[in-house]
């Protein structure tokens, strides 16, 4: 059928399309005819002809019609695209928004991929299902390119963008929108279940879902329903909240008491089920803070019994927080507020006072201006509202703090840890930064003031961060850098001294590392792993649970197990999951908790007993990426109780991965 239509069309083809088709076919023929010796010289013409054709209606179908020949013709010879099984969907974005040649070769590769997915072309190293999976995942990360006029407008040429748009649209038609919606919704859900503070990424995915739902009628499915639910959570889960804010409020006033409760309960449930809040919900909660009952507030935030008690005990404060922080633009912080109350954070003695103080704070003009500018809204709320909304979010979702695109995992981890175990201190720092534009910490008896420092890890501060991070990270980063500078020359991993002083006394002073600071060699790995078991594994440490989460250092590796870099995380707890597997639950300040570290070590963020925002790995897998940890010297089990086989199996996983090219020194006992 498809082929037939193609044939018919070519008979009275548009002359422009005909010319472009002939040019493409001639160029492809010319590439396939030569030997590999001269092929590179022939490719530019093929690439240009490809872009030409893609831009025209019906063009992608013609290129796709030849997709079975690309491999044989040597189009991808000597390039990464020659190994489609190794291509990563996330990296396709760079090609699709890159140079003209990169767009063209990526397009040819994708149309070949489509032919593999559809079973019209066989590739020895890639099956149909894998090809389909690649295209779906790639479409998910590139869907904004499908919509006219994107932010890439400035960089890529107009024609090139149109070629990409036509290409992706063709892929979508062939794969079917339903499967892409499914992938988008699944991706949004996997992010949202980690309850991030910044929900711009899943919101963008949902924008694409909306676009696809408008684009064509899709068969109903579970994913589609979930997609609609998530979209509704953003846009308004009830009839009232879908209206403009003023209409919503008027409509709410007109309801009976019972109807109001039903409406509010539905809103509260939507927030708790999705992690997303619509703007009208913010307007409604503001109204309730003025004139609503405690019960209404409790329903609207979906509070549990602890949350309701918090509301009861700190009624005036909660209402003040809502008045100052919550509005249509900042509605998303309602999720944080509900969690904050449910967690009982207000019962930490320093917290209520600190929050009252913040409701009265007028941040420095430059701080306010910065926050308002970064908020990305035509009419941003005041600096105080934004800061307070940010503080509420961090206290409510401490594991939802992310470092964004900055190399500041240390600072993000510190904010998260303070929000969890020392919220009063965190609020003090926020106060200093917003009011005085500096913070200070002590290191080995010396005062370090951020305002006196210039250097940090950040070269180009990416501001895709939550508000508290925006305010604190530039200061923390400089202080961390300064602490690092002061330990230069000690010949040991400086985290031993820095971590307890940077975070707080509750970071254990016991310190273990297996990487020799000077040479990078792995030293006494067996001793290191035994000690990790004795400190953290309940079966070897007499069941001593972790009281305070502890900073730790891991070796980040890519999906092939190759060394990428060192990374800061926090061990939250070590427990047996439902399947009887001992797991390490940890906080990863990286943007995304789901990571493939190679050697079948894939971090999990749900389904294994994780709390939202936690990552987890089986104990031995975690140990195979660990290189630094702190431990409580008073609660250490017997390292020698750990069986030799357990140690050896972890050691061999390490030797095959990040230590592959490092010297390895074990302690020899005679």
């Amino acid at each position: 059928m498809e082929y037939q239509r193609l044939q018919d069309a070519s008979r009275n083809e548009d002359p422009e399309l005909k010319q472009a088709r002939e040019r493409f076919e001639h160029a492809l023929e010319s590439v396939s005819r030569v030997t590999p010796i001269a092929r590179a010289g022939r490719l530019p013409r093929l690439f240009n002809a490809t872009l030409r054709l893609l831009k025209l209606p019906g063009g992608p179908a013609i290129v796709h019609g030849h997709a079975g020949r690309f491999d044989q013709a040597g189009v991808f010879e000597g390039s990464d695209w020659d190994h489609p099984e190794r291509l990563q969907p996330e990296l396709s974005r760079g090609s699709l928004t890159g140079s003209a040649d990169a767009v063209a070769v990526e397009a040819l590769s994708r149309l070949r991929m489509l032919a593999i997915a559809e079973g019209t072309h066989d590739h020895p190293d890639l099956g149909a299902a894998a090809a389909r999976d690649f295209l779906q995942r790639s479409l998910v990360v590139n869907l904004d390119l499908l919509q006219a006029d994107t932010s890439e407008a400035g960089r890529a040429g107009k024609g090139q963008r149109e070629a990409v748009r036509q290409l992706l649209s063709f892929e979508l038609d062939r794969l079917g929108g339903a499967s892409v919606v499914e992938a988008l919704v699944a991706e949004a859900d996997r992010i949202l279940e980690q309850r991030p503070i910044d929900v711009s990424a899943p919101r963008q995915l949902l924008d694409h879902v909306e676009y696809l739902l408008d684009r064509e009628d899709l068969p109903d499915s579970e994913a589609l329903q979930r997609g609609r639910q998530l979209l509704a959570a953003c846009r308004g889960p009830t009839r009232l909240t879908r209206a403009a804010a003023a209409d919503c409020l008027a409509g709410f006033e007109a309801l009976s008491e019972a109807e109001r409760e039903k409406e509010l309960a539905e809103l509260g449930r939507s927030v708790m089920e999705t992690g997303l809040v619509c703007p009208a919900h913010g307007a409604l909660l503001s109204l309730l803070a003025e004139s609503g009952s405690d019960r209404q507030l409790s329903l609207a935030m979906g509070l549990d019994s602890v949350g309701s008690d918090s509301l009861d005990a700190f009624n005036e404060l909660v209402r003040a927080l809502i008045r100052e922080a919550v509005g249509p633009a900042t509605a998303q912080c309602i999720l944080g507020l509900g969690n904050l109350l449910d967690r009982g954070t207000l019962f930490f003695p320093p917290v209520p006072g600190s929050l009252w103080r913040l409701t009265r704070l007028e941040p420095l003009p430059e701080v306010s201006a910065h926050l308002r500018e970064e908020f990305g809204h035509v009419d941003p709320p005041s600096g105080r509202s934004l800061l307070l909304a940010g503080v509420i979010s961090v206290l409510g979702l401490p594991l939802g703090v992310s470092q964004g695109n900055n190399p500041t995992c240390q600072s993000a981890r510190a904010i998260s840890l303070w929000a969890q175990v020392d919220p009063g201190f965190l609020l003090e720092l926020v106060m200093w930064a917003a009011r005085d534009n500096e913070i200070d910490l002590h290191f080995e008896g010396d005062l370090i003031r951020s305002s006196e420092l210039t250097e940090g890890l950040i070269e180009d501060f990416h501001t895709d961060l939550d508000t508290v991070s925006l305010v604190l990270v530039p200061h923390l980063d400089k202080i961390y850098w300064e602490m690092g500078r002061r330990i230069v020359g000690r010949g040991e991993d400086g985290h031993r001294w820095i971590n307890p002083e940077f975070h707080g006394w509750w970071v254990n002073r016991g310190f273990a590392t297996t990487v020799d600071y000077a040479t990078g060699a792995v030293v006494d790995f067996a001793g290191f792993v035994r000690r990790f078991h004795a400190a953290y594994h309940p079966e070897y440490n007499d069941g001593a649970g972790l009281i305070y989460p502890q900073p730790a250092g891991i070796v980040a590796t890519d999906p092939f197990g190759n060394y990428v870099g060192l990374h800061a995380i926090a061990i939250q707890r070590v427990e047996i999951d439902d399947e009887g597997v001992m797991r390490v639950y940890f906080y990863n300040p990286n943007n995304e908790g789901r990571q493939d570290w190679g050697g079948e070590i894939v971090t999990s963020t749900s389904g294994h007993g994780e709390m939202p925002g936690e990552s987890s790995l089986p104990f031995d897998q975690f140990a195979a990426r660990l290189y630094v940890f702190h431990f409580n010297e008073r609660e250490l089990g017997d390292p020698e109780a750990v069986p030799e086989e357990a140690v050896e199996s972890i050691a061999s996983a390490v030797r095959e991965s990040w230590a592959a090219e490092r010297a390895w020194h074990e302690v020899v006992t005679s």
């Binding site: 010319q19 010796i37 001269a38 690439f47 040429g157």
Partner: protein
């Protein structure tokens, strides 16, 4: 030094050579390519003739890795060991050597005089290498040439400029007619300078001497590629220069093609004057408004500016294979006649290219013009992005920074398009 470094040319990798030769027809000629050209090697790989590449040591590794039959040889200068390479090729069974670059033309003459036992071929090749000898030979053959002289220093140039303009009956204060200076033995535009005033003579570096001076010929300049077999023209292509040193396309416009017969007669004169029995020649001519042809120069090798690629794009045949064929002493008349299409009518369109020179003195990035990229005739380009700011100098006619290729139906549109490229910035 050079002599001592010269390797003994017996180091043919027998396996590499054998692997390729095994599949090819042993009754056809065995070709040696003098010089390294990937497109030429690719063409020979796909041509039913055994071949071997003779090129400098920097190509050895690539040749070995890609199984290209190869002999390492340094073409720096001819000397008393030059015969070695000829003897080696003869022992290998090679029938003829084909020069790919100006620098290997004389080598091919010397080698072929041994392989074919025709000592005259070496002398002939020297005519192609020395522009002053070449002009004299053409002149003696009754071919119309401009006024020319050799210069050994700047005084010679002053005198020539003055005498030429005196001859033209210029009065004091009249603008001079320019003269052209060219290196004796370099290809095309390399070392080509135009001199109009005595002041400009001071800018010529000492290293450029000796050189050839020529009077300026007003007229339409064009080039020809003629494949000759058994003393006969088998295919004649006319390449139209839009602006010398910038752009060329094939086949030419009907206006230039109108001279095809006259041009063919001129080429026949050239064949006779230079006693050419086989090979590819690439002469340049001027045709004046009254239809008179002036001979510029002739080369015995593939033209620059990727003209072979343009010819393949327009006509579909591989110009390197065509060249090997007409050099091959074992090629038959039938085989050669069957190889070539009909000129002009046999072309599927017009293929042209434009050599990019930065127009600004300081440039920092490649900015390929959108209007060129979007033009339906545009096919590809080989321009490279810059890593840093560069001060662009154009020495004499210089070397372009890369070519931009076009293909289309209408020769006039092609000509105007190529001309228009001169007004665009490709680097800013």
């Amino acid at each position: 030094m050079v002599q001592e470094q010269q390797p003994t040319p017996s180091s043919i990798d027998p396996e590499a050579a054998g692997r390729h030769s095994a599949e090819k027809n042993p009754d056809k000629g065995y070709i040696a390519l003098l010089g390294w050209s990937l497109n030429a090697i690719d063409a020979m790989e796909r041509f039913d003739r055994r071949y071997i590449v003779v090129a400098p040591s920097w190509a050895t590794e690539y040749a070995r890795q890609n199984g290209i039959p190869f002999i390492e040889w340094d073409f720096e200068r001819l000397n008393e060991r030059s015969l070695e390479i000829a003897e080696t090729l003869k022992k290998e069974g090679v029938d003829v050597s084909v020069p790919l670059f100006e620098e290997t033309v004389e080598w091919a003459g010397a080698i072929n005089s041994v392989l074919m036992e025709q000592p005259r071929l070496h002398g002939q090749s020297i005519l192609f290498r020395d522009k002053a000898l070449m002009k004299r030979r053409a002149h003696l053959g009754g071919i119309r040439v401009g006024v020319f002289e050799e210069a050994h220093d700047r005084d010679d140039v002053y005198r020539f400029l003055r005498r030429v303009n005196q001859t033209l009956l210029k009065l004091d204060g009249d603008p001079n007619d320019p003269i052209h200076l060219k290196a004796f033995d370099q290809a095309g535009c390399l070392g080509h300078r135009v001199i109009r005033t005595p002041e400009e003579i001071e800018t010529i570096p000492d290293t450029d001497f000796p050189l050839l001076m020529e009077s300026h010929l007003d007229g339409w300049e064009f080039a020809v590629e003629a494949w000759i077999h058994d003393g006969e023209i088998k295919f004649l292509n006319i390449s139209e220069y839009v602006t010398l040193g910038y752009s060329v396309f094939v086949p030419a416009t009907p206006e230039l093609e109108a001279y095809r017969e006259a041009i063919t007669r001129e080429i026949e004169k050239l064949i006779k004057a230079f006693d050419i029995k086989f090979g590819l020649i690439h002469p340049e001519y001027f045709v004046t408004s009254d239809g008179t042809m002036y001979f510029g120069e002739v080369a015995y090798r593939p033209p620059g500016f990727k003209a072979f690629e343009l010819i393949e794009r327009a006509y579909g045949f591989n110009a390197y294979q065509a060249m090997a064929l007409v050099f091959d002493p074992k090629a038959t008349k039938e085989e050669v006649d069957a190889f070539f299409p009909e000129p002009v009518k046999g072309a599927k369109g017009h293929a042209g290219c434009f050599g990019v020179f930065p127009r600004r003195r300081v440039v920092s990035e490649l900015a390929f013009p959108e209007e060129t990229a979007e033009h339906p005739y545009f096919e590809s380009h080989e321009l490279y992005p810059l890593q840093e700011e560069v001060v662009a100098e154009r020495e004499a006619f210089g070397t372009h920074w890369g070519l931009v290729y076009f293909f289309g139906d209408d020769p006039h549109k092609m000509r105007d398009l190529l001309k228009h490229q001169e007004d665009l910035d490709f680097y800013v």
